[in-house]
């Protein structure tokens, strides 16, 4: 078989689509080798660097991985610790010993987290159970703010390259913003108008994800809302 690339860099691709032919190409991300061809397994954006053909998913629900930082809601206090709803597909557990660096007695659990509280936590274990930890910063309890839902596949865009987008949002709005990789964003600020403006800006990032100059657009939008 001849060595042949079937796509251009940044092309959008779909499952089953042949991206390259020949044994010299190397699949990465959501691309796989299928006999003598490289195919995509998802709807995604393909990139080509030398002989590496990579596909990044464009859409999709949340699937937990170790070290993810997520936003959840405490649903239950149990013997072992707290049960936390983190979205699909499973509930997660926050064990007593992983909630804080100090020792927590069962009787004082509500001092840390009560039912209905929102938490920003890290995933320490994925398997039969999903385990969380709030031991280390920035993980913590989240106060009264607006929690909005976004597509988990858009999270990298909301955060931006090396956190540039989220920094712009925080700096221009003066709001506190926490992004959970499971598709939730928590926005808190003194000025409710500002909180709503940040919500709008995030919605814009989601709908215009493919356009360029997005950071500037977001900055303009948030500044425009200044009173």
């Amino acid at each position: 078989m001849t060595e042949k690339l079937q796509i251009k860099d940044k092309e959008l691709v779909v499952p089953g689509q042949i991206l390259a032919e020949g044994m010299s190409y190397i699949p990465s991300g959501k691309a796989i080798r299928n006999g003598e061809t490289i195919t995509s397994t998802v709807l995604g954006s393909a990139s080509v660097k030398g002989h590496v053909v990579k596909v990044q998913a464009l859409s999709g629900g949340y699937f937990p991985r170790k070290n993810d930082m997520i936003i959840g809601q405490v649903t239950e206090l149990a013997k072992f610790g707290w049960r936390v709803e983190i979205g699909q597909p499973n509930q997660a557990d926050l064990p007593l010993r992983d909630a804080s660096t100090s020792f927590i007695e069962q009787g004082s659990m509500r001092k840390y987290f009560s039912e209905g509280d929102y938490v920003f936590a890290g995933i320490t274990e994925v398997g039969k159970f999903i385990r969380l930890s709030t031991k280390t910063r920035p993980h913590r309890k989240l106060g009264t703010g607006n929690i909005i839902e976004v597509s988990p596949s858009n999270i990298p865009r909301i955060i931006g390259r090396q956190g540039s987008m989220i920094k712009t949002i925080k700096d221009t709005s003066g709001c506190n913003v926490v992004v959970g990789q499971n598709g939730y964003v928590w926005i808190q600020g003194e000025d409710l108008e500002k909180v709503l403006l940040v919500q709008k800006a995030i919605e814009m990032i989601e709908s215009d994800a493919q356009t360029s100059g997005l950071t500037e657009k977001v900055e303009k939008m948030l500044k425009g809302g200044k009173k």
Binding site: L12, V14, P15, G16, Q17, I18, K30, N34, T39, T41, V42, L43, A57, L58, S59, G60, G61, F63, Q88, P89, N90, Q91, K128, S153
Partner: protein, 245 residues
Amino acid sequence: MAGKSSEPMMVKGKRLDGRKTNEMRPMKIKMGVVPQAVGSAEFSMGKTTVVAAVYGPKEVHPRHMMIPDRALIRVKYDMLPFSTTDRIRPGPNRRSKEISKVMSSALEAAVYTKKYPATVIDIFVQITNANAGTRTAAINAASAALAHAGIEMRDLVCSVAAGKADGTVMLDLFQPEDNFGEADLPVAMMPNSEGITLIQMDGDLTKKEFDESMKLVTEAMPILYELQKKALINGEASFEGGKVK
């Protein structure tokens, strides 16, 4: 296959709606019609219309249906009460349960289920108007919706029926041909791996007619794949006059 019509199904080499024997009806597909689902699509094939939505991967209820090492693919195919000439009672019936089952297998073949252990991927399809070929339309809609949901798949699943009416083998039967035809052969395939993931047949075909039918279906697959692909990339796509736009 209800039997012979008093009217001929082929006139001067053309079908009642003017199509050639190897021609599919005009098709349309639109992504994201159910924003609250993880993935969704609306698909029409002539006057047959269907909406499909995908939820998951998510926790399995009831628990005993959970498969520890892979995802459960669960399809619920429904015909809306007003989608047929006579109103049908809402809720599942023997026909819809059978179609749901064969659709589950047809789609599961394409999903990397081991990537999502101990979860369920729910696929809901609603036939909003029935004019023959509802299960094939449902499979195209569901396949596009699965890809839209970001599920990892080997390939898209494409589906169309062939059949025989008035003694002629033809592609994508519409209602009169389905009512008065002699055979119906719905097929689903993964076009890039040439794997057949669904086949059903009722009626009467010679081996030669069967081979001809499979040839028609196989030749239609690249069009169906291209249609789903265009829709996934652009949000919508259509097939008319032999072209995918």
